[in-house]
């Protein structure tokens, strides 16, 4: 039986190391720099929109944070496992009495911490711009929470693919997941009107519910118009994220356990 204290210490150590490694990554800083530039540019865009400066800064700001955080999760996440294998440092780690699953969870938590810091930095810039235009609302942190839920899922997906294949294939698969996640909600609207049979309609709905729908975790529009999130939605979103992350980590753990690292 694994000692939970020891397990926590191992996961923490891996996570801390992952955090330090990720914040030294060039990709991380390039994406963060681009995001900050775009956040500052949103102020200029707002002036071009005639009377809707607050809304434009909010929309552009939250979208920028969402897009760039997702890119960070994907491009840092795809190399999480593969780099260790490539550099052969994984042998040193796994030669210790450390289950492979703890290593995976540690890497995952480490990247999630990096993404949290990244998100906080971008939110600080967005808050400053919103204060400057007189449109600050604390609800942007509510939007940031839901963005973070999406990032957690993307991290788990990137980790899963990183544990089974090379970075190129891993990137393509993770990006495909991201695309499917943001377009699956259009499936019922596009296909259902053209299908007459009940069986066909049910099949489309089943496929839709099986596919990830990351658009559900986007509340930017609600924040922009100060509409409250429906009662009970937040805990459902957290549960959905928790289940997705658990399933993906489990699958990654099973795949990584069987993987021959030689």
């Amino acid at each position: 039986m694994t000692n939970p204290v020891l397990m926590s210490a191992q996961v923490y150590a891996i996570g801390k190391n992952t955090f330090k490694e990720a914040v030294r990554s060039r990709v991380f800083y390039i994406l963060l720099a681009f995001a900050i530039c775009l956040l500052l540019f949103s102020y200029v865009l707002g002036f071009l929109a005639v009377g809707t400066i607050r809304k434009v800064v909010l929309d552009v700001g939250l979208s920028t944070i969402s897009y760039f955080s997702a890119m960070t999760a994907i491009f840092v996440g795809i190399g999480l496992i593969y780099q260790e294998i490539e550099k052969k440092t994984i042998y040193n780690i796994l030669s210790k009495p450390l289950p492979r699953s703890h290593f995976l969870v540690g890497r995952c938590l480490g990247l999630m911490s990096v993404l949290l810091v990244n998100l906080m930095a971008m939110m600080a810039v967005l808050s400053a711009v919103l204060v400057f235009v007189g449109g600050f609302t604390p609800r942007i942190f509510e939007a940031a929470f839901f963005i973070y839920l999406e990032l957690m899922i993307l991290t788990a997906v990137a980790l899963f693919f990183s544990s089974i294949t090379s970075p190129v294939v891993s990137a393509l698969c993770t990006i495909a997941f991201y695309l499917i996640g943001h377009t699956s909600s259009a499936l019922p609207d596009l296909l259902l009107p053209n299908i007459t049979s009940d069986f066909g309609k049910r099949a489309i709905l089943i496929i839709y519910h099986l596919l990830p729908d990351l658009n559900m975790l986007n509340i930017n529009n609600l924040v922009a118009y100060n509409i409250p999130v429906a009662a009970g939605f937040t805990w459902r979103a957290v549960l959905y994220t928790g289940l997705m992350v658990s399933i993906l980590l489990l699958a990654a753990g099973l795949a990584f356990k069987r993987r021959d690292l030689v």
Binding site: L48, V56, V60, L179, L214, N221
Partner: protein, 276 residues
């Protein structure tokens, strides 16, 4: 490099010969935009809106309004709550007097935003003041008032729309109610509404009376084959219940030769404001 510059000049000269109507940017359909926006529909709605504000007059005149409407249709599909898109869309379409497209965009905005009254008010002002389509103006002002029942400005507009549409009695009721709401309040806005209500009640009372008298005079003529000798003959013959007096207490004037009825008391509204 020697060949590139003259080639570029030639190509630019050829480009200038293309008809301006088609030198336009194409905004994809909203279905396509929703797919490619990756869930960030608000962001793309804002970008297209910013672009449209900067370039709305770039289109050739024969295609401008259809492209403009399509642009704002896409923006409001991506972000149905984007109130400014409806307002600016209406503004740009009004420059070419495309009232039909203004009403269409406003109807869409009202359907997607059940609580919003400003979109209805905005479309109503185009219908009333520019298109002079009073039934349409009334439709929009009445919608705005239903969504914002306490707003006196909207009551004023609805009363005016009824008046210009010819529903004098309904308009009179609105003015009387508006006056009652504001007559005991001591502020500039209330004083304005009371003054406007007084003038409208005055003129509407005269118009309602004249309409009733004219109807009775011509009913008499159809029945008897001649105009009545006086308005009193209308009363005696039972074509009218009672003879009205104008707001100043005078009797209405009548010409038995032509059947014309008019008021000796002047209207409060003069000039173009009296054209209703």
């Amino acid at each position: 490099m020697v060949a590139v510059v003259p080639l570029h000049q030639d190509m630019a000269a050829i480009y200038q010969t293309y008809p301006t109507e088609f030198r336009s940017y194409y905004i994809p359909s909203s279905g396509y935009m929703k797919l490619v926006s990756m869930g960030q529909e608000d962001f793309w709605a804002d970008l297209i809106f910013i672009w449209s504000v900067q370039y709305f007059d770039r289109y050739g005149s024969s295609v401008r309004d259809e492209y403009l409407f399509h642009t704002f249709d896409v923006i409001t599909d991506l972000d149905p709550r984007f109130y400014e898109a409806y307002i600016f869309g209406d503004l740009f379409l009004s420059l070419d007097k495309r009232w039909d497209l203004i009403y269409k965009l406003a109807d869409k905005g009202l359907a997607k935003n059940p609580g919003n009254w400003l979109i209805a008010w905005d479309a109503g002002t185009y219908a009333f003041f520019q298109a002079k389509n009073y039934p349409m103006a009334l439709k929009f002002f009445a919608t705005a008032l239903r969504r914002n029942p306490g707003n006196s400005m909207l009551k004023d507009l609805v009363a005016n729309a009824y008046k210009y549409r010819g529903d004098y009695r309904v308009s009179l009721r609105y003015w009387e109610r508006l006056k009652k709401e504001h007559e005991n309040q001591d502020n500039d806005q209330s004083r304005f509404f009371v003054m406007a209500a007084d003038r409208n009640i005055w003129d509407l009372t005269i118009k309602i009376d004249l309409r009733a008298l004219k109807t009775s005079v011509f009913a008499f003529k159809r029945a008897k084959g001649r105009f009545p000798d006086s308005l009193r003959e209308l009363l005696q013959a039972g074509f009218i219940e009672k003879l009205p007096r104008d707001p100043d207490g005078h009797s209405y004037a009548y010409d038995p030769k032509t059947g014309r009825v008019w008021s000796v008391t002047p209207y409060k509204f003069k000039g173009k404001y009296a054209e209703w």
